[in-house]
Structure formats: structure tokens, C-alpha cells
């Protein structure tokens, strides 16, 4: 589903060159719940941003469902994100002036293949799934951190994306809320065979992942299933 080939990202700050990603090569299969783990500065968020079309690599390529995303125009990338991808951010990133329902419906409202009835039904259905249907008219500031993150997940899921990306979604949550959010990801993965790529630096999160890729200094240092890491070749 996702082929990553020799991905490099180099930041230049004056004469200093920082290799945020240094030759990452990976395959991600449909239905996987993949965890990208590593210490701070290891390149995991940079990799997620490349996969989510939020940033461009210095070299290498990413092919998603047969599409080389490096060849897409700016507008095509926007449409690719809208139709194919879902994104959950560390700080929830909800639009503060929109209600829960409006936030969740927003990406669906832009899709040309959805009518109003379908948008309403899909949004209501996903809100029921995350247990916040009753709070659909509330503003984000009226919700707890955990609830806001669940709304963020609902927003990412409303368009039924091919791949769901999550960038340290539990970083701002207490352990109980984190567990609720992770359970939700697990449920989504199991119920809808949803491909999920999630960045985390919390070691206990690995119990939820099918597969874990560990990064260090921009390189894959291990890649394995069910916590059984194999050293990268």
C-alpha cells in the first residue's frame, strides 16, 4: 500500500547539515497498525509528515496505492489528502470556532462525492462510535483533552480514508485518556481494517501496534511485528 524508497530529508541551517531522515526504506501493508517509535529528534515526525504529504523529501520517493506522490501538483496533493488520508495531530488541531459536529463534517463537506444527507449520517455515525454524539453542539474548548482528541480522530475518519496518520496523539493526554484514545485506534483498525501509521515515544503504546518501526538519527534501526523487533538490514 505504501512503498518508501531511500527517503532522505536534509535540513540546512547555514553551513550545518541536519539529516532528519537518512535513507529510510519501508513497505506498509493494508490494515496494518504501524507504530513509528524513537527518541526525540529521531526523525519519526518528519517521516510521518512525508507520508502525509505535509512535507517534501530531499530525495527518495513515496508511492501510495501506485501513485508517486512526489509527482503530484500542489492542488493534487490537497485532493489526495482530502480523499485518501486522515490525520490526527498531537495538539488535536480542531477549529476552535466550529462545533464538534462542524469540525467532524468539515473534510466531508469538501468532497464532491458526498451529499448533505450522507455527510450528516457519516458524521453522526462516527460521533456515536467515539461516544461524543451527545456533545455534537459543543465547542472544542468545552471538551476535555481526551474528548478533543477523539473528535480529532472522528474528523480524520469521516472521509473513510485509506490511511490514518497519527502524530503522537496521546502526548498531551493523561494515561487514562491515552488508553481510551489507543483503544479507539485499535477498534477502528479491527472494525474497518483501517491502515494506521502512528508516531509515539511512549514505550507502553507498543502493545497496541501490529508492527513497530524504530528510528534513530533518521535511520530505521529495527522493524518487527508484535514487539518482536528485528534489526534492520
Amino acid at each position: 500500500m505504501i512503498d518508501i524508497n531511500d527517503l532522505q530529508k536534509i535540513y540546512r541551517m547555514g553551513d550545518v547539515e541536519v539529516r532528519a531522515l537518512d535513507g529510510v526504506t519501508l513497505d506498509i501493508q493494508k490494515g496494518e497498525f504501524l507504530g513509528i517509535m524513537g527518541a526525540s529528534g529521531s526523525g519519526k515526525t518528519t517521516l510521518l509528515h512525508m507520508l502525509g504529504l505535509l512535507d517534501e523529501p530531499t530525495s527518495g520517493n513515496i508511492i501510495i496505492d501506485g501513485t508517486d506522490i512526489g509527482r503530484l501538483s500542489d492542488y493534487e496533493k490537497t485532493m489526495f489528502r482530502l480523499y485518501k488520508l486522515g490525520y490526527v495531530f498531537q495538539d488535536y488541531a480542531l477549529v476552535p470556532d466550529l462545533t464538534v459536529m462542524e469540525n467532524v463534517s468539515l473534510p466531508a463537506m469538501l468532497r464532491k462525492d458526498r451529499d448533505e444527507e450522507q455527510i450528516k449520517n457519516d458524521s453522526a455515525s462516527i460521533l456515536k462510535k467515539i461516544g461524543l454524539y451527545e456533545r455534537q453542539d459543543h465547542l472544542p474548548r468545552e471538551l476535555s483533552g481526551g474528548q478533543q482528541q477523539r473528535v480529532s480522530i472522528a474528523r480524520a475518519m469521516v472521509n473513510k480514508p485509506d490511511i490514518l496518520f497519527a502524530d503522537e496523539p496521546c502526548a498531551n493526554l493523561d494515561s487514562e485518556s491515552s488508553r481510551v484514545v489507543l483503544e479507539l485506534f485499535k477498534e477502528i483498525n479491527e472494525d474497518f481494517n483501517q491502515t494506521i501509521v502512528m508516531v509515539s515515544h511512549e514505550d507502553w503504546h507498543k502493545d497496541y501496534f501490529h508492527r513497530i518501526v524504530r528510528l534513530k538519527d533518521g535511520k530505521v534501526i529495527s522493524d518487527g511485528f508484535n514487539g518482536k523487533d528485528k534489526k534492520a538490514a
Partner: protein, 403 residues
């Protein structure tokens, strides 16, 4: 951009205004409203001054059309025949003659130099509203002799000392008092029949007597006039009457009020137009800059959110129109506020005009003035809003999200 994108942009714009900083929204609307008022107030006031002066000149000086002596002559002669001819023309409401003589007026210890204007009171009523401006006593009768009506500034106020007066007066003449007028050796006693106040300096510093009385002063029938003023009937243009008079063989110097105004006020009107243009330009610049700053701050504060919206698949056009529509909504509300404020101001000024010794003015704005200024301000607002919106919507996702 499709209907769906526009709908999302409108939803984002509306919610941002509804649920964002209320004080910022109110202040922006106030600023736009004030800018609108600033743009229309000065031109409106100048228009009002122009209208007021024009009306007073028509009412007390020229009428709609003025017939002056031929070039090189001092008086319009063969007056009765000329008046008959003019009054018989279609479109002429009434023509009335004026004859002015310089005099010295004495009242108790006060002595003043004045102009005494002879009029035919009955005809004058058709041409000038002077008869409606009596503040005490009454207007002249057709055959009155030995009676005058005088302007309030000449009559004076007995409570004000001579040293404190803005202009010399008779120190408090009242209706029924006797005054003495001396016309170059001819001395006559007059009774003050009425005191008027028009607000037009030239009229208020003149004394009026009847044509019959002036004939006694001159000692003969007056078949000449210094000038004739003509009032036209509704539906006729001044130019039409002027042409008609000339075609009917009136060989005197015939000029419309517009001709005279152009000669006497042309430069002043040009100056007003320049000031109006400067005022409009400054108003538009202020509005544009203020809105540009407001929207720039708003977009800069929303950079992270803009990055997020782009990340979830919202196109940059939608983001740009979101901010653009916010400005459009703010501009519409601000302009509406400005229109209401200006309208209320014009009502207030209708009851409390700006009064000077020479004229009084209200705010004079035509519907076209409102429409033009609304459109100019709206366009300025849209430009001021869309420029920062365009800039920020082009920013790459990473930079925006890091903000």
C-alpha cells in the same frame, strides 16, 4: 472554486466572526462605519453649504433668472413694459424689480450707513420668501409709505453694549419705533413696520421699503430698476427661460442663477471639490490600511490553524475566501453602520444646522453619494482583506503549522 468550497469558506468565515473575538468584530465594524462617515461627512457638509448658499442667493439675490441693465447702462429702463413682457412668458412665475439707494440711518445716538432696497411687496412674495422671515411686526403692504422693514442685525440688541457688538447696529430698534433716513440730502422719517431674519448676511443688512415710497423719495414715477429677478414655474429650466427671454426680444443682460454662481462661487466650488477628493482619498486609504492590518493580524494569529486546515485537505482557495468573506461581511456591516450613523447625523443637522453670519448649512447627501461611497469603501475593504488572505493561504504547510 465550486459551490461546496464556497459554502465551506462561508461557514468558516461566519463561525469565526460569530464565535471569535467579539470585541475585534465590533471594533472593526466601528472603524469601517467611522471611515464611511469620515468619507461622506466633509463632502456632505460642503454640499450642504453649497446648497444653502445657492438657495439663499436664489431667494434673496438673483431669483432663478436675473435681468441686469445692458452693458454700459446703470438701470433697466422701460420697466413696466418689460415686466409685462416677462410675466406673460410661459414658465415665468413672476418677475419683480429692485431699486437700491444708499442712505444714512439715524436712531437715537446711532448712525449707520445702509442700503435701502425698494421692492413691490406683492410680486416679491412670489420670488423671495422674505415675507416668511419676520421675527416681529409685519411685512410691507403694497402701497405702504413711510414704513420700512429692517434686518435683525441692523435693529440690534439693547442688552449688548456698542463696544461688544460684532457689527454696528441701531442698538435695539423695536417695531413701531421711528428712525430717520437720509438719502443724499433728502431726510425722511420712517416707522419700523417689521424686523426680519433670513440668515443671509446681505439680506439681513439691508432695509426694505416699497416701490411707492421710493417713488416719493425720487420725486417721480420709477420706470427703471437696478435689476429684475425672475422666479420660474416648476418643470421649467433656468436655461430654457433665459433663451426664451432672449428670443422674446429682451435685450438686457439675462443670466441664470447657475451662470452667476459659476462667476461668483466657481473658485470656491472648485476648492470644495478638491477638498472632497482629498477627504475621500484619505478615507479610503485609512480604511484600506486599517482593514489590511486587522486581517493581517487575524491571518497571522491563525497561521497554525491554516496549516492544519491545509493538512486535512482544505484547499488554499477555500482558506483565502474564508478570510476574504470575513472582510466582506465586516465591510457590509460596517458600511451599514456608517450609513445609519450618517443618516442620523443628517437628521440631527437638519434640526441643528451649522450657522455662520453669512449662511447656515446642513448635511446634504444624495442617494447617489451614498451608493458611490458604499461601493468605493466596499471595494477598498475587499482589496485590503484579500491581499493578506492571499499571502497567508500560499504559505507552505510546514511553516504555517510551526507558527
Amino acid at each position: 472554486m465550486g459551490k461546496k468550497e464556497l459554502k465551506v469558506a462561508f461557514l468558516l468565515a461566519l463561525r469565526s466572526l460569530q464565535r471569535g473575538s467579539r470585541s475585534s468584530v465590533i471594533l472593526t465594524i466601528l472603524i469601517i462605519g467611522m471611515c464611511f462617515t469620515n468619507m461622506v461627512f466633509l463632502p456632505g457638509l460642503f454640499n450642504g453649504i453649497g446648497q444653502s448658499i445657492t438657495k439663499q442667493i436664489v431667494d434673496y439675490e438673483t431669483g432663478n433668472v436675473m435681468v441686469n441693465p445692458k452693458t454700459g447702462e446703470q438701470y433697466v429702463t422701460d420697466l413696466d413694459a418689460l415686466l409685462d413682457r416677462i410675466n406673460s412668458m410661459p414658465g415665468v412665475e413672476r418677475a419683480t424689480p429692485h431699486y437700491t439707494k444708499a442712505a444714512t440711518v439715524k436712531y437715537r445716538d446711532r448712525v449707520l450707513g445702509v442700503s435701502v432696497r425698494a421692492i413691490k411687496p406683492g410680486d416679491e412674495k412670489f420670488v423671495s420668501p422674505l415675507y416668511t422671515k419676520m421675527v416681529s411686526g409685519s411685512y410691507l403692504g403694497e402701497d405702504d409709505t413711510g414704513e420700512v422693514i429692517i434686518g435683525k442685525p441692523i435693529a440690534g440688541d439693547p442688552t449688548i453694549k456698542r463696544a461688544d457688538e460684532n457689527q454696528a447696529s441701531l442698538g435695539g430698534v423695536r417695531v413701531g419705533d421711528s428712525i430717520t433716513l437720509e438719502y443724499g440730502g433728502i431726510v425722511r422719517e420712517y416707522r419700523v413696520k417689521g424686523i426680519y431674519y433670513t440668515g443671509w448676511y446681505s439680506a439681513d443688512t439691508t432695509m426694505y421699503t416699497t416701490w411707492s415710497d421710493m417713488e416719493q423719495v425720487e420725486g417721480k414715477a420709477l420706470d427703471k430698476a437696478e435689476y429684475i429677478t425672475v422666479k420660474i414655474k416648476p418643470g421649467y429650466s433656468e436655461k430654457f427661460i433665459k433663451n426664451e427671454l432672449q428670443q422674446y426680444g429682451v435685450s438686457e443682460d439675462v443670466q441664470t442663477m447657475s451662470d452667476l454662481l459659476e462667476k461668483s462661487m466657481g473658485r470656491a466650488l472648485q476648492s470644495f471639490a478638491i477638498i472632497n477628493a482629498v477627504s475621500l482619498f484619505v478615507g479610503v486609504i485609512i480604511t484600506t490600511v486599517v482593514l489590511f492590518i486587522v486581517i493581517t493580524i487575524k491571518t497571522l494569529n491563525s497561521r497554525k490553524q491554516i496549516g492544519i486546515l491545509k493538512a486535512i485537505g482544505v484547499d488554499k482557495e477555500v482558506i483565502m475566501h474564508n478570510f476574504g468573506l470575513q472582510v466582506i461581511i465586516l465591510a457590509i456591516l460596517g458600511i451599514a453602520f456608517g450609513v445609519i450613523m450618517t443618516f442620523l447625523l443628517s437628521i440631527y443637522m437638519a434640526y441643528n444646522p451649522v450657522v455662520t453670519p453669512e449662511w447656515s448649512a446642513t448635511l446634504y447627501l444624495t442617494p447617489m453619494d451614498y451608493v458611490t461611497n458604499c461601493l468605493i469603501l466596499f471595494l477598498a475593504s475587499v482589496v485590503a482583506g484579500y491581499v493578506p488572505a492571499y499571502q497567508v493561504s500560499r504559505e507552505d504547510i510546514q511553516s504555517a503549522m510551526r507558527a
